[in-house]
Amino acid sequence: MKISFYLNGKDTCVDVPADRKLVSVLREDLELTGTKEGCGAGECGACTILVDGHVRLSCLMTAAQAQGRRITTIEGLAENGKVHPVQEAFIENGAVQCGFCTPGMVLAAVDLLDRNPDPTREQIREGLSGNLCRCSGYVKIVDAVEAAAGKIGRGKSR
């Protein structure tokens, strides 16, 4: 089945089985390996992508469901070689360890800050609660999102 969607700012068309897992389309057919797969059951969040700006689990979507959607994977977050403020904050705040949860975690944070630009730490924890991290204990990830919120907020008020 031919499926067209807007991926990371580009019109994209793939010819894949309609019921193929979207994460496999991204990772294997389009070679966008930044999106990870950790459990295949919607429990870990490693496969998180943005669909029309909102977090979704690409391991629980059929390829057909991407039709016509605006999809952002981690590869599509930086603009003109400049990383997103959330990515920058993850780097600066020590929020990255093994890095396997990181792409999903970053996208979850981007969506969270879109909806709530000034979250409390508890709200950040809530917003990231679908993304498991086994390395960090989440503390520095929450720090990073808090820092990113501040940075984005200052950017907007300017």
Partner: protein, 763 residues
């Protein structure tokens, strides 16, 4: 790459962070090659049985199946294992746990692979199994291996513990139990392998021990070690679970039979649960005696480790657990007995805390009870007995290196969370009970005696004038490679734009030990310091030549160049890179970790892995709040005070502390691999639960710095020590709240509710 100076002692952002936040970092799972086949194992699904027959005909006939292999197709010994090689690559005669592989399928894609695996008919004659280590020791128990179910028995004996118990003012006795824990790294076991022309096998694999893997594969498949190249990109988590062969031998076998095509093997999450390694379930019985003033006088304990069906690192895990069974305390008389027993449960092995996690629950629970019995504070009794440099520990080793448990406990005692604990407890809301728990722990560094804990570092000036480090110990996320970059940056005075690091590749780097045992940065870092100093001298000397100076005096390294300070003349690295021959641009140095110099005769049954001489220390404090209506334990505050020598990167230090605590809280509160007759009942992330961001509180990490004179820039590894304290600290907090101790982990809401003081069945 950043142009900031990369130095030791600062929270320099990890050099790998940028590639990881943009998704560019390639893990083993992200590698693929044209024409790739998929390999997968048919698992036994039965914990103990004799293989009557394996019918592969239907699977082999399925279109898209490239090959189906069984035991008969395995060249070599068909035996893998790190020390004792008792684990078959493909089971041929019998299966000893549900995850044993009995056939290997190579297929064109994953769907065909799954279908083919389902078409393999395995006829097994069920055997009685051993599912409890104590049952396994009965004379009439079924045998997991013909050699008997007792894999190893050992004793650590200092003084005369049993006699000394009679001399004590108080003696307490208790028993504890901990179940298996899953590593639950997010990147499951996987790799990609292919046979080069000429027959060599290259394997890109998620592994903690690339150099050792070659020996395991070579032994199992009858290959030459040099015929195997292992490449180990950054791991998506390891925690001990990728120390030792996972996919390696199966994947190499597949590559040998793939006609030169690349083969990928990727364990699904359920397969990772059933075939992967676990933290050992342990049963412990303790008798602890002390004098009226709180001084420990005698510890007599027995630890029984359920090691599963294969030796793997079972004996070594037990050895380390036994070595730590008396805690970070001075005890003149100790008797620690350990039994490591084969069962038909999942395979136990290395996991962060390596046997110490379990024993810490035992000894720290005893310390709490001793404090109550003697009417002392939990902090005071620990301080009273805490080891100081020069003391002999419970295994009879004199601590000649940095020993920081006293300053850790003192810092805990001075912290507001300790001082305010009584007030905080008194402010519990309706149906809430509050408690505060503490724990003091240590964790040894390195392999211990019996084999050299060594690393060989290589650092190059590249042709392009960059400094390139060839790491030979894998980075599973702990950030050792960042520490290496910092060390090189510090010694060679370079900024981030000049530094590169290559993850382990056995063809490029030099042999080193595994990424484990808190040794990674310590051992390789020490080797790297020497290599960097060597390279620095080389660069200065060659610059002397190029500048036609009399002698190297006055020459210093600066970012991208060597500068002659008196004249201001410079030699750019680019020039040095061009004019130096390849062999002249390389520095290679080795380091071997020191071992105990005592004539330690407290244990005779350990061939290797005992004793240790370097330890890191930590004291933790936790505030727990229990909901009386549901039994749910909420961790409200967490303080960790850690001593690991000097700190190379404070941010990485905290990362390790936080992460260890999160795994420890999971272990204490919710994680347990549930089995029934050896079959895992919760082999997925739906039913095996690990903490989410809402389950871990903010953690206060305090660093108590000492100087470890043998460590690189004074450091010791602290990756593991933090895992050992959360469970006993929580258990202590729960007892403080409820007035009753829970002796089995995890401390679930149900176990709390069932405890007197909880609102159990009668409300």
């Amino acid at each position: 790459m950043t142009t900031r100076m990369i130095e030791v002692g600062y929270p320099v952002p990890r050099f790998d962070a940028r590639a990881k936040v943009t998704g560019e970092e390639k893990f083993a799972i992200d590698y693929s090659r044209e024409g790739m086949l998929w390999a997968g194992a048919r698992r036994a699904g039965l914990a103990h049985g004799v293989i009557r027959s394996i019918d592969i005909s239907q699977a082999a006939a399925l279109p898209g199946v490239y090959a189906v292999l069984t035991r008969r197709d395995v060249p070599g010994t068909n035996r893998q294992g790190i020390i004792l090689k008792d684990q078959p690559v493909l089971a041929g005669r019998k299966v000893r746990h549900c995850g044993d592989p009995v056939a290997l399928v190579l297929a064109e894609d994953r769907d065909v692979l799954e279908k083919a695996l389902g078409l393999i008919a395995v006829d097994l004659e069920p055997l009685e199994g051993v599912f409890d280590p104590e049952d396994g020791l009965r004379p009439d128990a079924p045998l997991v291996h013909e050699s008997g179910n007792l894999l190893h028995k050992a004793v650590i004996k200092v003084g005369d513990a049993r006699k000394a118990l009679g001399e004590c003012d108080v003696v307490i006795e208790d028993s504890f139990e901990v179940p298996a824990q899953e590593h639950a790294f997010l990147e499951t076991e996987n790799g990609l392998a292919w046979q080069e022309e000429g027959g060599r096998i290259t394997m890109v694999v998620s592994t903690q021990a690339p150099f050792r893997d070659r020996f395991e594969i070579a032994h199992a498949l009858g290959l030459d070690v040099e015929a195997i190249r292992v490449v180990s990109p950054c791991l998506g988590g390891g925690f001990g679970g990728k120390d030792g062969a996972t996919v390696q031998c199966l994947l190499a076998l597949a590559a040998l039979r793939a006609g030169g095509r690349p083969v990928r093997m990727l364990w699904r999450r359920e397969e990772s649960f059933s075939a992967g390694y676990k933290r050992h379930p342990v049963r412990m019985r303790y008798r602890v005696g002390a004098m009226r003033d709180g001084a420990l006088h005698s510890i007599d304990c027995r630890l029984i480790y359920d090691t599963g069906p294969y030796a793997h690192l079972g004996v070594e895990v037990m050895a380390l657990g036994m070595e730590h069974a008396c805690g970070p305390y001075r005890v003149p008389n100790t008797l620690v007995e350990g039994l490591c027993v084969y069962t038909n449960n999942p395979i136990s092995g290395a996991m962060r805390g390596f046997g110490v996690c379990q024993a810490s629950f035992g000894i720290e629970s005893m310390m709490d009870q001793l404090a109550s019995k003697l009417g002392m504070s939990r902090l005071d009794i620990r301080l009273k007995n805490a080891l100081r440099r020069g003391d002999r520990n419970g295994a009879g080793v004199t601590l000649v290196h940095s020993t920081g448990i006293v300053p850790c406990l003192e810092a805990l005692g001075g912290h507001r969370l300790w001082k305010q604990s009584a007030k905080w407890k008194s402010e519990a809301g309706p149906y809430k009970k509050r408690g505060v728990g503490i724990a003091a722990v240590s964790n040894a560094i390195g392999y211990g005696r019996g084999l050299p804990d060594s690393a060989i570092a290589r650092v190059d000036l590249t042709k392009e004038g960059k400094i390139r480090i060839y790491s030979s110990v894998a980075d599973m996320g702990q950030g050792n490679s960042n520490a290496f970059v910092q060390i090189a940056g510090q010694i060679l005075r370079q900024d981030g734009s000049r530094l590169e690091i290559i993850q382990p590749d056995t063809d490029l780097a030099h042999p080193s030990g595994s990424s484990s045992a808190g040794r990674t940065t310590y051992t390789y870092g020490n080797a790297l310091i020497k290599a960097c100093e060597d390279l620095r001298e080389k660069l200065v000397h060659r610059a002397t030549l190029l500048l036609m100076l009399d002698e190297p005096a006055g020459l210093v390294l600066l970012p991208g160049k060597v500068k002659h300070l008196p004249s201001g003349e410079e030699v750019p690295f680019e020039l040095l890179g061009r004019v130096l021959s390849e062999t002249d641009r390389i520095a290679v140095k080795e380091f071997v970790m020191p071992v105990a110099q005592d004539n330690v005769d407290s244990a005779k049954e350990f061939k290797l892995g005992f004793p240790h001489v370097l330890f890191s220390y930590a004291a933790h404090l936790v505030y727990v709040e229990i909901d009386e209506l549901t039994g749910k334990i909420d961790v409200k505050e967490y303080l960790a005070v850690t001593e690991g020598g000097r700190v190379i990167n404070p941010a990485s230090f905290d990362q390790q502390v936080h992460g260890a605590i999160a795994q420890g809280l999971g272990y204490g509160l919710m994680e347990e691999v549930l089995t029934e007759r050896g079959k895992i009942l919760n082999p997925d992330f739906t039913n095996y639960i690990i903490p989410t961001s809402l389950d871990i509180p903010d953690i206060t990490s305090v660093c108590v710095e000492t100087e470890e004179s043998t460590g690189p820039f004074g450091m010791k590894g602290i990756g593991e020590v933090g895992t050992n304290a959360p469970l006993p600290a929580i258990a202590g907090g729960v007892e403080d709240a409820l007035g009753r101790r829970i002796r089995r982990s995890p401390l679930t809401a149900a176990s709390v509710l069932a405890a007197p003081g909880g609102k159990g069945a009668t409300g």
